[in-house]
């Protein structure tokens, strides 16, 4: 792992938000003592806390009185929580709304309006004003628009769980209907037509700051459920990433998140948000209560220590929204470079997001693009019982290595193959590491050189990924050295793409593949017939994917000997764009991967 220089560390700070949900204890809707215990801990440590009122809290005079006391004595911000509705909210709720649906994002539009209006009216009745912050595990696009248009004082909302979807659904016994994969891991300006997509500009944006629910370990979130591995002690305990009363991994997550400011102009972000029941007397976890309570106190004390050291600034929800609007521009990219600190793999994963796309690059696969979400297509996604998508609010992908494999051993991915003396290897089969440098207009991921021992020669290949916040990734491969009897290699850049939102394949029919050189263009319309076309000296390779309103293209920037397009088949449901270029020692191949809105 690269060393972090002390002067680099001191330049940045992490904005921290602690959020409690005012939720009664299990089995007694009028008992808030576990919530109060949680509050006492934060107040004792002396960190800012935002408190979100549930349906139960809005009908409990005692807790309202207590909350007013917290607000007046400690300055706690009060807002609304839309989590745990339906039967979980009790008989009074069911009498009013006559629907057992558990979460706001799954109701119909008319029901959402009714519930939102009711909560806001009740909040005002209890507190005398409207809140400026609201939270859910998800606040879907319609609800968020309705809240902002009806209650313009709202400045911020927790509205998605980063990379929760397929894996967490399986991890919760196929019973957790929360699908918001493909979104940002840190705060963003949500767009009006899809809250999960960072807005391209002010006109595209809903005028509030969207927040993720918790911070997730960006090294571990791609290959398994990520709710075990994040900023909240409950998740870490749930994932058994502790031994006795020791949980160094929890501190590793927070410290690694803090130093992400190195890649983000000095800015980093974290929140811890949960109800009190995970550390109540009776929980559904087998973790001893004293360990749960201790873990929360320990992380609060730890964050307070980091605050004293100048690495952390705690903020209320609305205070942070103002900070964000003042300091973070529309279109400002966010990057993350994380290393596994739990499994012992040291695996590194790089993440990058801007209004054009989100991508992830896996250094355990030679620096291959393993996830690509084409925001430039501006795909609208709705959720709820009256929508086509129902529960699936994930932003579609164009590359997703974990979800799309074929038995031939190929998967959806962007990688390169190198051939020398009749042998071919794929860079994805090699481990490496990377460093990221953020520039003014150009941000570069430098992948450490990969050495390949062919029978005919030893080849050292360097890769660079250049981001310019314009919908492109320029991929550079340089042959740093060839030692052996063969003095040339062939580098094949290839993109195996497909669209989808979940692990099961979506219908790829209708995708248009095209390859052209100066003389001709060859087209294939996707019909699962395994057709392909190859031409010499290609200047452009393109896939037009109407399902995600996006064109993805590869452009050889310094020429290619040949290029090809390939249609897949049902047992291999992705398409391929590829180029071949012969290189000598010192030779470079530059390829521009571009995403554009479909014309």
């Amino acid at each position: 792992m690269p060393e972090t220089r002390k002067d680099e560390i001191k330049k940045g700070r992490m904005c921290l938000q602690l959020i409690h949900r005012v939720q009664p204890s299990f089995g007694d809707f009028s008992d808030f003592k576990d919530f109060k215990a949680q509050q006492d801990m934060v107040h004792k440590v002396g960190l800012k806390i935002s408190v979100m009122l549930t349906f139960h809290a809005l009908f409990n005079k005692d807790i309202i009185r207590t909350l007013k006391g917290y607000r007046d004595e400690f300055g706690d911000e009060l807002g609304i929580s839309f989590h745990n509705l339906g039967d979980f909210a009790g008989e009074r709720y069911l009498r009013i709304f006559n629907n057992e649906e558990r979460e706001l994002w799954l109701y119909s539009k008319e029901e959402k309006k009714k519930i939102i209006d009711f909560f806001f009216a009740r909040f005002r009745e209890c507190l005398g004003y409207y809140p400026t912050s609201v939270v859910g595990y998800v606040l879907d696009t319609f609800s968020l628009n309705y809240i902002k248009n009806s209650y313009p004082m709202v400045q911020t909302a927790i509205c998605a769980c980063f990379e929760e979807g397929v894996r967490v659904f399986h991890g919760c016994n196929m019973g957790w209907y929360l699908f918001t994969e493909g979104g940002p891991w840190w705060p963003w300006y949500p767009s009006k037509n899809n809250m999960l997509r960072p807005a391209a500009d002010k006109k595209d944006a809903l005028d509030l700051v969207a927040l993720p629910h918790l911070i997730r370990d960006l090294a571990l979130c791609m290959n398994g459920r990520d709710d075990f591995y994040g900023s909240h002690p409950h998740g870490v305990l749930r994932g058994l990433a502790y031994k006795g009363d020791k949980y160094p991994y929890l501190y590793n997550v927070h410290d690694q998140n803090i130093i992400q400011h190195k890649y983000n102009d000095g800015y980093s972000y974290c929140n811890i948000f949960a109800g009190p029941n995970w550390m109540a007397k009776k929980t559904w976890l087998e973790v001893p209560r004293e360990i749960a309570v201790k873990s929360y106190m320990d992380i609060l004390v730890f964050l307070k220590k980091r605050k004293k050291q100048g690495f952390v600034e705690d903020m209320y929800l609305t205070e942070f929204a103002r900070y964000f609007k003042k300091n973070i521009r529309y279109r400002q990219p966010v990057a993350g470079l994380w290393t596994d600190t739990l499994f012992g793999s040291q695996k590194q994963l790089f993440w990058y997001i801007d209004p054009y796309f989100r991508t992830a690059i896996d250094m355990d696969q030679g620096g291959a693009i393993v996830d690509l979400r084409p925001y430039v297509g501006k795909v609208p996604v709705q959720m709820g019982s009256d929508t086509r998508e129902l529960h699936d609010g994930s932003y579609p992908y164009l590359i997703q290595t974990s979800y799309r494999w074929a038995v031939c051993g190929e998967s959806s991915i962007y990688s390169a193959r190198v051939s020398c003396g009749g042998e071919t290897v794929d860079l994805r089969d090699y481990r490496t590491k990377a460093e990221f440098t953020r520039g003014k207009n150009e941000h570069v991921l430098n992948v450490e050189p990969i050495e390949v021992d062919f029978r005919a020669a030893r080849v050292v290949l360097e890769s660079r990924f250049i981001f310019r916040n314009d919908g492109t990734i320029t991929v550079e491969r340089r042959i740093a050295r060839i030692a052996g009897k063969v003095k040339k290699v062939q580098v094949q850049e290839y993109l195996n793409g497909c669209w989808g939102t979940i692990e099961y394949p979506a219908d790829q029919r209708g995708i248009k593949l095209a390859i052209s050189n100066k003389k001709k263009t060859v087209n294939i319309v996707y019909r699962y017939r395994s057709r392909s076309a190859e031409i010499e000296n290609p200047v452009m390779l393109r896939a037009t994917v109407p399902q995600v309103k996006t064109e993805v293209s590869l452009k050889p920037l310094n020429g290619a000997n040949s290029g090809f397009i390939k249609e897949g088949f049902v047992f291999k449901p992705f398409f391929t764009l590829g180029t071949n270029k012969e290189l000598k020692e010192g030779g470079i191949v530059r390829t521009c991967l571009k995403l554009e809105k479909m014309k």
């Binding site: 792992m1 972090t4 560390i9 894996r167 399986h170 991890g171 919760c172 016994n173 019973g175 957790w176 398994g224 459920r225 075990f228 749930r238 994932g239 058994l240 990433a241 502790y242 031994k243 020791k246 160094p248 991994y249 501190y251 590793n252 410290d255 690694q256 803090i258 130093i259 009776k282 929980t283 559904w284 976890l285 087998e286 980091r306 050291q309 690495f311 596994d340 600190t341 739990l342 499994f343 012992g344």
Partner: protein, 70 residues
């Protein structure tokens, strides 16, 4: 809440957990004095459950390793 045994702790099924499904709570059979899972074939006493948790933890090779980022 399902019957969770004498000590009233809800144990998650260690076999399901091994596949990262942690939402299956074991039931208790007082006649056989053992826990069992309705989602898979796990049966066992408390010791076997705890052994299953330890096997799950074994994949965390850096479980007790504090990294110095700062």
């Amino acid at each position: 809440m399902p019957k969770v045994g004498k000590d009233e702790i809800s144990y998650r099924c260690p076999s399901c957990l091994a596949e990262t499904n942690d939402s299956v709570v074991l039931l208790y059979d007082p006649k056989k004095k053992e826990y069992y899972c309705t989602h898979c074939f796990f049966t066992g006493d408390r010791k076997e459950i705890l052994r299953g948790y330890e096997r799950f933890r074994a994949k965390y090779k850096d479980l007790l390793k504090r990294r110095r980022f700062i």
